[in-house]
């Protein structure tokens, strides 16, 4: 048993900064698709923020695989251990998949993938209505899955912090 008591500094910085970025991203995305006036401004924010999240998620995954996380409390019921493990890997999968699907869907839709004004990313899929027609709804559905997973994660974190008071929240909130 050589496991740390806390997540390492990089993991903590990435967790909290990405929490803000991903929540902002979800609200921007949900709002822009129903906005008659601010779609373009929100989209101009959505694309570079999405790429930033993708890059940070890659760093985060590498850090997570190299550094074992602190253990969960020994008395945590099996069902909660299972829920924690499954939701964490779902969050990793979605924070990597969502930006990639967004990029792929713009490519398949024949759209320029504008990072900032005048700088475009290359297409990662050929122009294809069949692929666009599948990826665009998938991007929306998975955004809602991601949002609800984050809500569950937040609820569980607060449960650990306020009700169980078992130190799990502190593993991510503070260092050694």
């Amino acid at each position: 048993m050589n496991r740390p008591r806390h997540f390492n500094l990089l993991a903590r910085v990435l967790h909290w900064s990405m929490a803000v970025a991903i929540l902002a991203m979800l609200f921007v995305g949900a709002g822009m698709v129903v906005s008659l006036r601010h779609r373009d401004e929100l989209l101009d924010l959505h694309r570079p923020l999405g790429l930033a999240i993708l890059l940070l998620a890659i760093v985060r995954l590498a850090n997570r695989l190299r550094h074992a996380p602190p253990p969960l409390p020994a008395d945590l019921p099996r069902i909660q251990v299972l829920a924690a493990t499954a939701s964490h890997w779902l969050l990793y999968a979605l924070m990597l998949a969502m930006p990639l699907i967004g990029w792929a869907m713009l490519s398949a839709g024949g759209y320029p993938v504008v990072l900032v004004d005048g700088v475009n990313l290359p297409a990662i899929l050929p122009h294809s209505p069949v692929m666009y027609g599948m990826l665009r709804p998938l991007h929306g559905v998975l955004a809602y899955v991601l949002f609800f997973t984050i809500l569950a994660h937040l609820g569980a974190a607060l449960f650990h912090a306020w009700v169980r008071r078992d130190g799990v929240f502190g593993q991510m909130a503070k260092g050694d």
Partner: protein, 355 residues
């Protein structure tokens, strides 16, 4: 940790946790338009467009009938002084575009198309794109998307009578009086007898930024080289339902067709954000380039079918203004594109020719 922990918090603390999660969920639902009363959404505008006729899966919800066009754009030397856009520095830029008829019927008869559209995609060698969607009308029907939506909703048949309710249109005109100008124009305007001699107007205002960072508000138009000839109303009555495409093919077989891109500059005080008000003809103009079309092809499986001619896809050096109709067009076209591409991917697209 296996013995009961006296430090455990009260289970009543689950209440504030549930409250925090619920507030976040409600906020998200509100931002996403699931709850709360919103004025007009792009989805609502698209639903109204769809309700104006029989469904045609896989087709654009407005300007459904169209022809793909291919050619190039060559800028004038003056264009480079107006904007740093790459398209004005490059000798020639390939163009993919689309001519269209109004309405949501992809088989609508050409002789009833009083308004025509020209959409273009200009893609420069650095991958930047300039997409535009122009119309043959000189100004837009309404100052705002809300007015346009109200007008289209009033045109829908009343479920009770099967006909539009004239009282509804009266109420819309009282609230959005600018629509009367458009109706007057529609009544009197002479329809050109060909797409080749039709002038197409951007209608919305944009901003060009030059190398010194100076910004100018402009509206652009495509002015045909082919001389204007008004369609004869008697001949129109018996014209073939696809006569515009046939005429275009005939003319393109004889040689390329050209349009000058005219930039009109706003004077101080001109209504930049109101597309229902044309600027006076006396405003200074500059020709920014020439559009040359060499080929046309049917839109079914044509290269223009799966492009969204979103007028806010602009290269660096050209930006949109705060014109609310411009922003609404961008938002609504996206909904139309998403819906029809979904239908195509599900194999539900309508195929075959006429009806």
């Amino acid at each position: 940790m296996s013995t009961p922990n006296p430090r455990r918090g009260s289970p009543f603390l689950l209440l504030p946790i549930a409250l925090i999660v619920a507030v976040l969920a409600l906020l998200f639902a509100w931002v996403g338009g699931w709850i709360g009363n919103r004025n007009v959404t792009p989805q609502a505008m698209m639903n109204t467009a769809e309700a104006s006729g029989a469904p045609h899966p896989g087709f654009r919800r407005a300007h459904s009938k169209g022809i793909c066009i291919v050619g190039s754009f060559a800028p004038t030397p003056a264009a480079q002084t107006l904007s740093t856009a790459r398209v004005f520095a490059q000798a020639s830029t390939p163009v993919l575009g689309r001519f269209s008829n109004p309405g949501n019927d992809p088989y609508s008869p050409d002789n009833k198309a009083a308004v025509r559209g020209m959409a273009l995609q200009l893609k420069t060698d650095d991958g930047q794109e300039w997409r535009m969607a122009m119309n043959s009308f000189p100004f837009f029907a309404s100052s705002t998307p809300e007015g346009f939506q109200a007008m289209n909703a009033a045109k829908l048949p009343d479920p009770a009578t099967g006909k539009p309710d004239p009282e509804k249109m009266k109420a819309v005109l009282a609230r959005y009086p600018e629509i009367r100008n458009f109706m007057a124009w529609s009544k009197d305007a002479k329809t050109p007898d060909s797409l080749a001699n039709t002038r197409f107007n951007g209608v919305n205002a944009f901003r060009l930024t030059d190398a010194q960072g100076r910004e100018r508000a402009v509206r652009w138009s495509m002015r045909p080289h082919t001389p204007f000839v008004a369609a004869d109303p008697e001949q129109l009555k018996t014209a073939d339902r696809d006569y515009l495409a046939q005429d275009l093919d005939r003319r393109l077989a004889a040689g390329p067709l050209q349009w000058d891109m005219v930039m009109q500059f706003a004077a101080p005080g001109d209504p930049i954000e109101d597309p229902s008000k044309a600027w006076p003809d006396t405003r200074p103009e500059t020709i920014a380039g020439t559009l040359t079309l060499v080929r046309a092809e049917p839109q079914a499986n044509g290269p223009c079918r799966d492009l969204n001619f979103d007028p806010l896809i602009l290269p660096k050096g050209i930006a949109g203004t705060d014109d609310p109709v411009l922003h609404a067009r961008s938002a609504v076209y996206s909904v139309s594109f998403n819906r029809r591409e979904r239908e195509i991917s599900q194999g539900k697209a309508q195929t075959g020719s006429v009806r």
